[in-house]
Symmetry: C2
Subunit: 465 residues, 2 copies
């Protein structure tokens, strides 16, 4: 065999073994030459030979991609996507939610009337009295020490060991997640994300030039752990972004057993974990759920959360428990937003140390359970012929899966006409796979008017089937 | 001529005309093939021919780079740098400034005792009373409308036309600058930055994978406008990041004439302007300085500023007047930090509409002028034999340029021992060009102890010469 035939043969075998899967790009000519020691000419000949056999196809901008014909990995539930495109639609849905007359079932936050507004306002006023000349510096990365100590103690109470020193205070969980992803990847890296997935995840990947491998999260059985392992085996995965508790949008929480399995895989394949645990406090069972981080042995893990879902939305204070990445993340924050607001950090310290956060949380959990139960019952009555309403213990999201060829975008548009927002499935995926689904926020109390709105919307949904 | 010879000849001419300059990478094989219509083989042959003539050199990871021999552009004052590497040193200097016993001459903010603390705290307390159920949504991008109106009116008072609709409230000017840069570039683009330059600029470029072309800012004559035009001519420059007023670190402000020249070039070459105008309020002349944006005719310009230098440091509230990029920047903010804190935006609205910001600013300007004068006089006495102390009307930075082979890092280390921080020149450049310079914050009042510290430091500096 000529040299280029040897290389072509090697590559063919690699593709058959799933090293390179459908739509994945082979290494560039230059990189392949450097790795294998063949000349650029030889590599180009080999690639052109594979192309003539229909095993790869040459794309003007993206290089040589493995074709569907060649790949045997396409049967797997892992989807590899080169380019993650931003969904302008997220902006539209959020702007629609600003209308105060809107019944915001598409909203990602709990009903704002559930927040302890009086106590929080007192804490802001109290913080205003405490601000000193030097406290302007206390908010610099990693953020207010008292606040980090309180957060660490709250983890300790759940049996999760986190040091105040590894915590960085951020502008909400979203900044924490973005900084974490940036810390453990470089552009072009593979990152495992869920499907369906929180849209912020897809946007973060797009912004950082990362490649997404999606692993299915079923509303009935949760994350497909076998598919996760295949992804780790077939790709050089650098990071994995997961919500193990009250997953957004389907609402599923992994069992401790599933978390252990995932943690073991992360350790085994040396993949960094970015854990989005913003709903952690909103459990309905007796015991608080644990993060995957808790089950990891070695652990390059970044646990992100915030007060936005459990205490107050508009403060924009979150954090990441970043382990060995703590210093790196502080430096990145220093150059992106510098720090979060000093008075707001002080106000939270005041609230958490002088007001009764636990008793607020108990009340909040109780109300969320009751409200979700009411809305679920109503929707089951109205829609059970045409849709499955997935609901889980804890959190406040319902995931509605319509049967037949229903397009949730049509439902979204009719809902807007009825002054309701919903979050259509298309927000949570790069494919059309969830176009028949939508997410509902079940944290709101129903009154007669709202019942009527839901009734009208349900009739419309039925009319589509 | 064979096809590859034709292409090689074309490329050689382009290099001679300065289209591709020293150390710059030629387009990848694939990109060149797509652009010119030649086959990959032809392009590879052409590149290898140029390599054999010593015009380009092949680098394993970075492709074909133009050699020094080939380039005639290296004599210009424009420096092209492929990779901008982050300076961990920024983090070290900032952390050192947290020590309350430190005389923080390396600090980037004015003396915190100059902020109207009592009034601000009252406004925070007042804001706490106003927070309603719906105000949590008012902070979403583009941010609080009242605050945007106040900012637009303040520009109007200076004769600068900016609509509240194009303003986006951000986490300080740093987030505004980062979002702006991201909005008008894609990785690999050329961006013009100043030299010496605010270190946040270099870090932003590095983070977004952009290539820096530096244009000199002299402490005596300001931005080298001729070099700016050469940069625009020789490279496909996408954006230009400038501080026209009280430039950090040298302190120079461009004249209206210089601003007009720069504006005309930006319009002519269709380059986006990212303007960092955070010191705008700290002028010492009768009239407030204008931004370059004001002089642009067509104008893809993003004017960024904040309240951090003129009112209070720890709030982290800034803005960008983004013109046609306003919507794009809102969407990007939505996915990076989501929004800035609602109570803090309300507190600023309260302060700006009920307290006397103008009278605070007048006092602040007066004190900064007096304090800078005192420190400048003292340092001139102590150091004029061995250094030039550059000072300008307005702002609060001094740029100290040592004569001879003095290394400001040695001064930095001795200063730390004396409980003083300074900002050494190495912070403001990718080269060693400013290693003999350092920036001083002249906003602090001197007492006997501080005079003594400065005296000791000056003796050390003299001992180096």
């Amino acid at each position: 065999m000529a040299k280029y035939e040897v290389l072509a043969h090697q590559l063919k075998e690699q593709i058959e073994r799933g090293v390179w899967v459908e739509n994945e790009k082979l290494p560039s000519l230059r990189k392949q030459a450097a790795q294998t020691g063949f000349s650029l000419m030889t590599v180009l000949h080999a690639y052109q030979m594979l192309e003539s056999q229909g095993i790869v196809s040459s794309q003007e901008r993206s290089g040589f991609l493995v074709t569907a014909k060649a790949s045997n990995a396409s049967k797997e539930r892992v989807q590899a996507t080169e380019a993650v495109s931003i969904n302008d639609f997220v902006y539209e849905v959020l702007q629609a939610s600003r209308d105060p007359h809107m019944f915001s079932l598409g909203f990602a936050y709990p009903d704002p009337s559930l927040y302890p507004r009086q106590h929080l306002n007192k804490s802001i006023a109290a913080a205003a009295q405490q601000i000193s000349l030097t406290s302007a510096m206390d908010n610099l990365p990693p953020g207010n020490l008292d606040l980090r100590k309180i957060i660490a103690k709250r983890y300790a109470a759940k049996g999760v060991n986190i040091s105040p020193d590894e915590i960085i205070i951020t502008a909400g969980a979203l900044e924490a997640l973005n900084l974490s992803l940036q810390a453990c990847t470089t552009p072009g890296d593979w990152v495992v994300v869920e499907s369906p997935v929180f849209y912020g995840t897809l946007q973060a990947l797009q912004r950082l030039g990362l490649k997404a491998i999606t692993v299915t999260v079923s509303p009935n059985t949760g994350l497909d752990v076998a598919a996760l392992e295949r992804a780790f085996k077939n790709h050089n995965v650098k990071a994995c972004w997961l919500m193990s508790n009250f997953q957004n949008p389907v609402g599923y929480s992994l069992s401790d057993g599933q978390k252990q399995q995932v943690a073991a895989l992360l350790d085994k394949y040396n993949v960094a974990l970015i854990e989005d645990d913003v709903y952690a406090e909103l459990y309905a069972d007796k015991r608080p759920p644990l993060p995957i981080k808790h089950f990891m042995k070695e652990g390059d893990s970044m646990l992100c959360s915030s007060f936005s879902k459990s205490l107050v939305a508009g403060y924009r204070i979150g954090w990441v428990a970043a382990g060995k990445r703590a210093l790196e993340i502080q430096k990145q924050q220093l150059m992106s937003t510098l720090a979060t607001s000093a008075p707001i950090q002080l106000a939270l310290v005041d609230y958490l140390s002088t007001k009764n956060y636990e008793s607020h949380l108990k009340q909040l959990r109780k109300k969320l359970i009751a409200r979700k139960k009411t809305i679920t019952a109503l929707l089951t009555d109205l829609l059970s012929d045409v849709a499955t309403i997935h609901t889980h213990s804890g959190g406040y999201f319902l995931w509605v899966e319509c049967r037949g060829h229903v397009d949730a975008m049509a439902i979204y548009k009719e809902a807007l006409r009825l002054h309701i927002t919903i979050a259509p499935g298309k927000l949570f995926s790069l494919t059309n796979e969830f176009n028949h689904c939508f997410r509902l926020n079940a944290s709101f109390a129903l009154n007669e008017a709202k019942r009527n709105q839901l009734l009208k919307l349900s009739l419309f949904i039925k009319s589509l089937s």
